[in-house]
């Protein structure tokens, strides 16, 4: 397709779509206008119904909890797929040394860098834990806490280097966290069904508002999401960083080798 044809296509598409886009854009509430009716209704109803002060958590983990269960499944599938894809091409052997690009100087880490990273990583891990634990009372929750913990793992990598980091972080534990969190979420949704209630029915005592334990079943769902997200993102980091380990003669299973060598390899 030549550039001219592309421009013509763009013009035609704009002509067709513009009226609809303009109509919708002009009908939207003004920028920053706090008048969304659903939001106002949530703010008025949820503290009384669920005893929590974080409306976003109440919506995500209770009122539309089944949607969140689906999102949890998507995250699990995406991370599992990535892991299988990368391990399939790389082999399962755990090589503990980082790779090195020829021609790029290797400067050892300064002590100050290691110290700053250790302090910052500790604070980040604690902050992530706090954000996850206070999911019912303050903004944040399981997902945010989980990704903050994962970025704390990244700081550990920055400070300790690949070898020390891999010694600290065992992928099987991350995989168990990931799958265990998802199973816990499914149990939260399924056990009320077995007892004859709707899925995710909030059967636990709701607790006091603004307390660490408030919101009943939401606390368990929040913990499940936190575990699963921590495991998922941690596993993703390990799998991607393993790609940068020392490239060596990992035995690749015979059946994954291409049948015919690629043309440019045959010439060599």
């Amino acid at each position: 397709m030549t550039p001219r044809q592309r421009l013509v296509l763009l013009g035609l598409a704009a002509l067709v779509l513009m009226p609809a886009v303009m109509r919708i854009a002009l009908a939207l509430p003004a920028f920053g206008a706090p008048e969304a009716e659903l939001g106002q209704a949530m703010n008025a109803l949820v503290p009384g119904l669920r005893h929590v002060t974080n409306m976003v958590a109440a919506v995500n983990f209770d009122l539309r909890g089944i949607d969140t269960l689906g999102e949890e499944g998507m995250l699990l599938c995406a991370v599992t797929g990535t892991t299988v894809l990368l391990r399939g091409a790389r082999g399962e052997s755990g090589r503990e040394r980082a790779g090195h690009l020829p021609g790029r100087p290797v400067t050892p880490r300064a002590d100050a860098t290691v110290l700053v990273c250790r302090i910052a990583a500790t604070l980040t891990l604690l902050f992530g834990l706090s954000v996850a634990l206070h999911g019912m009372t303050t903004p944040g929750g399981g997902f945010q806490g989980g990704v903050i913990v994962a970025s704390g793992l990244l700081l550990l990598y920055l400070g300790e280097g690949y070898e020390g980091w891999r010694a600290l972080i065992p992928p099987p534990v991350l995989a168990v966290l990931e799958g265990g969190g998802a199973v816990l979420f499914v149990l939260c949704a399924g056990l009320p069904l077995l007892a004859g209630h709707p899925a995710l029915q909030n059967l636990l005592p709701l607790g006091e508002p603004k307390d660490l334990y408030s919101g009943g079943l939401m606390v368990v769902v929040n913990a499940a999401v936190a575990l699963s997200v921590t495991g998922s993102f941690g596993l993703l980091l390990v799998e991607f960083l393993e790609e940068t380990r020392e490239p060596a003669d990992d035995p690749v299973p015979e059946d994954t080798l291409p049948e015919d060598p690629l043309p440019d390899e045959a010439e060599r």
Binding site: V131, Q144, S151, F240, E243, P247
Partner: protein, 81 residues
């Protein structure tokens, strides 16, 4: 719309432009990370602190690292041949 939000929107557009204009993939990753940080501040100014937390952790730390690891893996694979 306050001045703070207007300034942050402008910064978002500028840092997004930098991501598009950077031609070296590694520079592009750092531009993307900066764009994520500005977006996180914008979400904070728009009173969505939970979205800001996710954006800063995912958009500023984890996604750029995945890109950097991928670029390093590609470079090593080429150096090996």
């Amino acid at each position: 719309m306050t001045g703070l939000v207007a300034a942050l929107l402008l910064l978002t557009a500028l840092s997004g432009l930098l991501v598009v204009l950077a031609r070296d993939p590694r520079r592009q990753v750092f531009a993307l990370s900066g764009n994520g940080l500005v977006l996180g501040l914008l979400f904070l100014a728009l009173q969505a602190p939970d979205v800001a937390l996710s954006e800063i952790a995912v958009g500023t730390a984890i996604t750029p690292l995945l890109f950097l690891a991928t670029l390093a893996a590609i470079a090593m694979d080429r150096a090996k041949r």
